[in-house]
Chain length 393, copies 2
């Protein structure tokens, strides 16, 4: 074929930023695309920044799919590139049309001309349409502008022209790691992977922290957390992503001794916040991300959130707080975690018959002191281990 | 017609709750439906709770639309109700079919049989289908199960049967006010009404608090905030919703004297948090809701969120934190605030050329003390006024 295989990448929100911010984010996005392709085994890749687009070369169309999982990317268009003179553009368009439009199928031309060229978008559509018809109408190929079988996109930009027929939707957002680091309270249920993913999409680097509550919960919890972690790892361009695990069994055992069983869930959650906060300080992370949704379960009342927030000194980000269960499940399906995390695990054996919906901070603090929970949490932080998701395979 | 006009209301998340929680929420939802209809001028309305559904009587199908804006409602079905014996059901179905299926149009029967009845869903579909065809096939009326012009839903529940052809989608969520009270930092831009609405949807009662920064911003800001407030008032079933306004001009004037212009936005936002926190205490609200989205603008970095959070002692809920600008705009369109809040206002005159993205808490606190901002914020709280959105008209 006469074109050069080029993956065209479009981004949305980054384009709206002021010039210095935009350039920083474009560079970061280009680097993350390179990282993602390196993770996928493509070492010799070139990523060029051109106003409003990135050009990726060194992979084939069928290898372009992981680019749609790089945050910041709006669309991925596996294209053939040529020179922008009309003859080259029409020649390439006819070649691609011949390859991709089947007998009797319909097509449409979608032209986009950016910059100074001796033809308009409209001219291009007319010329390309008749060139394709001239070559293929013998096969029953015809134009259908509303519901074409094949859409031939022709995008002319300055010194390059691109022809493509496929657009892979990305997830938008900002490049991974461009907005600082967060610790995710990561149980591997439906909510926490969605919350972690939403903040990753907004450009945060996220370290998933799983609380190992054995022997008070079963083995299946760890397996589920690792599977969920592996699923969201697909969105992390950089190497070295994995699951951090804090041993929390001792803390749980002590909580079981509390004189108020109703407060167990609040004491447990506050311990998790506390462990995550110390881990954040150690890792220079700037906040915690959790999966809470207001009113979803008895422990997620405003009263209880107040008591939870007072166990940490850093921001708690709750991207699910305004979402319904069904909305969270919809996102989980898009992300790919639904199948993993809808997987039922045995219930937590610590949960009492009645959970308080109105914890009182003074009572909670008193119990924590009595049970020496703060010290036990420090032990848990010292015991945190790490499992690299890539190395493991 | 032989049926009784009944609006059938379905809810989703409430149905998943434990029995005592479910009953409380069902009662609250029924009360909020009555309140919403009272606000709309329908005084004599009956709302009955039946397992899994609410039955609303005393309004017509054309008056049912506001029910879809009551949070907790999944679907609104303006129906005709009859007895569940087959003869009554078929008779009503044919009457409604005759009224709503035009000449040559297609239809489908969608049956749902709950409880003990001498026929199954399948029997009902077959019987109803042939009854309608018997009555109308002379007019060219025919069955189309995949894309019917008219769908006849027949829902049989215990002692009642309902026939309806229209389903109005609600927004889901939990009944307004069932989850406690929040103060919304409400500018009336794109983000803050969406954030307030998302928390209202999750059952929070929300008091919008607008910061009147005149003379540092123009009159148009207040007008925009009032319009946005009126738009979200459509989702509030209870009377008495309106806009609270805190006079913040003095605070702004003092911030202009700060030796570090780069910190103005952080000082301003912290003052807003502080005023909202005092107002929350006064109003027994349990948190603040804000429109921040990570990395959307220079002031919404993790570093700055840390500095903002340390200006308040109560939870800050940020339902937009994980959303892209385009996602927030999509919600604004669904809510109805987009048209209002996309309306441009003159920029804030206080914003410096460079805004810090990494505020340092010690420096910020020093400046606040120097400028006596905490006292000025107390004055602002004392000056808060209220405008009732309903009374105003």
């Amino acid at each position: 074929m006469r074109g050069l295989e080029t993956i065209l990448v479009a981004y949305s929100e980054i384009a709206l930023k002021s010039r210095p911010v935009r350039i920083t984010l474009e560079r970061r996005l280009a680097a993350q695309i390179r990282n993602m392709l390196t993770r996928k085994g493509h070492a010799r890749v070139e990523v060029k920044r051109r106003f409003g687009r990135l050009y990726v070369e060194g992979i084939t169309a069928s290898e372009a799919k992981p680019l749609a999982s790089v945050f910041g990317v709006a669309n991925v268009m596996p294209s053939m590139r040529t020179k922008p003179d009309l003859q080259s553009v029409l020649g390439l368009t006819v070649e691609i049309a011949t390859e991709r439009i089947g007998e009797g199928q319909s097509f449409a031309i979608r032209p986009k001309v950016v910059g100074q060229h001796p033809y308009s978008s409209r001219d291009l559509a007319v010329e390309a349409g008749s060139a394709v018809l001239g070559a293929l109408s013998g096969n029953g190929v015809h134009v259908d502008l509303s519901e074409p079988d094949v859409t031939l996109h022709i995008e002319v930009r300055d010194r390059d022209a691109f022809v493509y027929t496929e657009v892979l939707k990305g997830f938008g957002g900002l490049p991974y790691g461009s907005q600082g680091r967060l610790i995710s309270l990561f149980s591997g249920g439906i909510d926490s992977p969605v919350a972690a993913w939403l903040m990753m999409k907004r450009g945060a680097e996220v370290l998933p922290l799983f609380m190992d509550q054995r022997p008070w919960v079963g083995e299946s919890y760890i397996e589920r957390a690792e599977l969920a972690c592996r699923t969201i790892a697909e969105y992390v361009p950089e190497a070295g992503f994995g699951l951090h695990t804090a041993p929390m069994g001792e803390v749980m055992s002590r909580i079981m001794e509390a004189s108020e069983p109703k407060l167990r869930c609040v004491l447990c959650k506050r311990s998790m916040y506390r462990i995550a906060t110390s881990f954040a300080e150690e890792q220079e992370a700037l906040g915690i991300v959790t999966g809470e949704s207001l009113g979803q379960v008895a422990s997620q009342t405003l009263d209880n959130l107040f008591v939870l927030d007072s166990a940490t000194s850093i921001p708690v980000l709750r991207p699910n707080i305004g979402l319904d269960k069904v909305e969270i499940e919809d996102i989980a399906r898009r992300v790919g975690t639904y199948a993993v995390t809808a997987h039922r695990v045995e219930g937590c054996t610590v949960v009492p018959d009645m959970v308080t919906t109105k914890a009182r901070i003074d009572q909670v603090r008193e119990l924590e002191e009595e049970l020496d929970l703060v010290d036990l949490c420090s032990d848990a932080v010292r015991g945190i281990t790490f499992k690299d998701i890539d190395l493991e395979n």
